[in-house]
């Protein structure tokens, strides 16, 4: 009989909710500061955080499987197109959109091939087919590598904005692209929230947490 470490799933579920909440803050900040870059990553992290929290803890799950599959299919197509656009514009390079494409694809696969009931994760029920363990392992390894190389990168915030963001190029860090149209206390308030939370390191950290949690889920699917 395999022991189910439920506290571990609650821990990962809670982390996913924190990432989702942080993504909401970043989205609001993007709207307030009219920052054009990184919102698509924030949207994807929001959906991934919410859905994975439901995978780790059953009672936190909501929404039908078909709805989630549709969302992650759209995200997959979006990031795939952005990756191709990036390659077309800048030539051969490792676009940051690629890892978000992989993450969207992973989420889609996790809904298409849910965990067997015996695996210990709490939300998914037994279905006939199973995701090939080789593919699970490969995706998990890619996600772990992304987590490590994101943390090690001198380009902080690149996991959200890439290294060609204008704000990035000017300051060496992303996430500081404030609009100059706001004035007075409102602008000061937005600036302080933005400077406090929309920091490249926190953005990278949310990506790292998401990669590790997703990789863990893939390992559970082996």
């Amino acid at each position: 009989m395999t022991a189910t470490p439920s506290w571990l799933y609650y821990l990962f579920g809670a982390l996913m909710l924190v990432v989702a909440a942080y993504s909401v803050v970043l989205l609001l900040s993007s709207v307030a500061t009219r920052r054009a870059l990184g919102w698509d990553v924030d949207v994807s992290h929001l959906f991934m955080g919410l859905s994975m929290a439901g995978m780790f803890v059953t009672r936190w799950a909501f929404g039908g499987r078909d709805v989630w599959e549709l969302i992650f299919s759209l995200l997959l197509i979006w990031f795939l197109v952005r990756s191709i656009q990036s390659l077309h514009r800048w030539g051969p390079h490792l676009s940051h959109f690629l890892i978000h494409t992989v993450m969207s694809c992973t989420m889609l696969l996790m809904y298409r091939f849910p965990l067997p009931a015996s695996s210990g994760a709490m939300s998914m029920s037994m279905r006939g087919s199973r995701l090939d363990p080789g593919l699970s392992f490969l995706l998990a390894f890619v996600l772990f590598a992304s987590a490590i190389f994101t943390l090690a990168s001198p380009n902080k915030g690149a996991s959200h904005h890439g290294t060609h963001a204008p704000a990035y190029a000017m300051s060496g860090t992303a996430g500081s692209g404030l609009s100059t149209s706001r004035t007075g206390e409102q602008a000061t308030s937005v600036v302080s929230i933005d400077q406090l939370l929309a920091t490249p390191r926190l953005e990278d950290m949310s990506h790292v947490v998401m990669c590790v949690a997703m990789g863990f889920m893939l390992i559970l699917m082996l």
């Binding site: 470490p5 800048w90 390079h93 363990p133 080789g134 772990f144 190389f149 000017m170």
Partner: protein, 341 residues
């Protein structure tokens, strides 16, 4: 100059927003030692997450402690006693011990990432690897004559320690190969020769050359593996049953050839690195089954992957590249089309 001080610059905003044409920009020259450190950190992160599998928290013979206890057999009595003692502790406290093991591996993996914690993390990884080699791998079955490199002998975790030593941060050039940067060319070559000579020896001693033993080793791994890997295993089992001794001798010859290759001119040294990488990549897949990860319940990816990583550390670099890295300014002005990301 410290290579680790090499910095990344990005194109100016105006040039990015207004043009996509070739232009002069500052791009980073990759620090290969740092890249390999990150690869090692990735493997440690994988290990940490593998430690979180439900099976690891399960007490009794069907759990992690049962797996540890099974390693005691075939070892000398006093070694077996220490392994059993450790297994009983894990059995009585499966959650706290296993969570601690996972945390240690997370600390090592993420510790390697930060330059400030790199040295302590690598030091901890050496200590931890040796402890795991003893208590978690039963000394790689070296004392029971079952440490065939086909099966991961002399213990995959030993290669973590070796990689930590060879990737110890040190300013300098990656010439003639990355491993030399940490310990010097002579010591690096000596370690290479020693490792491959040991692998050659272990290929042909004890049960390592027995067709039945090699066959059973693969057969024991393929439970729970996906269909495509089971089919590969069936071929491996059949091959070992009919040509086990020949395969063991051939592996020993390959290992000795690789050992000598590092002392030859770069062209032949590269060939030996390729030979080592290909042979152990095949072994990792067709014999070690990715360390059993795909069947669930594995604690690490086994030796094959790490030996390939080790071999790549010895890839001879061209003079051009090495001198490019050693430019004193720390950032090199080149002309290139487009930003890196």
């Amino acid at each position: 100059m410290s290579i680790t001080a090499t910095r990344v610059s990005t194109p100016p905003a105006a040039s990015v927003s207004s043009m996509g044409s070739p232009r002069a920009l500052m791009v980073p020259q990759r620090d290969l030692q740092r890249t390999f450190q990150m690869a090692l950190a990735t493997v440690w992160l994988l290990d940490a997450v593998l430690q979180l599998q439900p099976f690891m928290f399960t007490p009794g013979s069907s759990g992690f402690s049962g797996m540890l206890r099974g390693l005691a057999s075939q070892n000398p009595g006093w070694i077996a006693h220490t392994i059993t003692w450790n297994a009983s502790i894990v059995d009585h406290h499966p959650v706290s011990t296993n969570a601690s093991f996972a945390v240690i591996q997370f600390v090592i993996g993420f510790g390697i990432v930060s330059r400030r914690t790199l040295r302590p993390a690598l030091g901890l990884s050496i200590v931890w690897s040796l402890a795991v080699w003893w208590f978690g791998e039963g000394l790689g079955h070296v004392f029971s004559g079952g440490a065939s490199p086909f099966g991961g002998g002399p213990g995959g975790v030993l290669f973590y320690a070796l990689l930590a030593i060879l990737l110890w941060p040190r300013a300098g050039s990656d010439q003639p190969f990355v491993a030399a940067r940490a310990v010097g060319v002579k010591m690096a070559k000596a370690l290479w020769a020693a490792v491959w000579a040991l692998l050659a020896l272990l290929s042909v001693v004890g049960s390592g050359r027995s067709p039945e033993s090699l066959h059973n080793m693969v057969a024991g791994l393929n439970r729970g593996e996906p269909g495509w890997l089971t089919r590969i295993d069936a071929s491996s089992e059949s091959f070992f049953l009919h040509h086990g001794t020949t395969a063991a001798i051939a592996l020993a010859v390959v290992c000795l050839t690789v050992a000598a290759g590092i002392f030859l001119p770069p062209r032949y040294a590269r060939a030996s690195v390729v030979l080592a990488s290909v042979v152990f990549a095949v072994i990792w897949v067709a014999v070690q089954n990715f360390g059993g990860i795909l069947a669930g319940g594995a604690t690490d990816p086994d030796a094959g992957l790490l030996i390939v990583l080790l071999a790549l550390l010895y890839w001879p670099l061209s003079d051009d590249r090495a001198s490019a890295i050693d430019v004193a300014s720390g950032a090199i002005l080149v002309t290139q089309e487009g930003p890196p990301s």
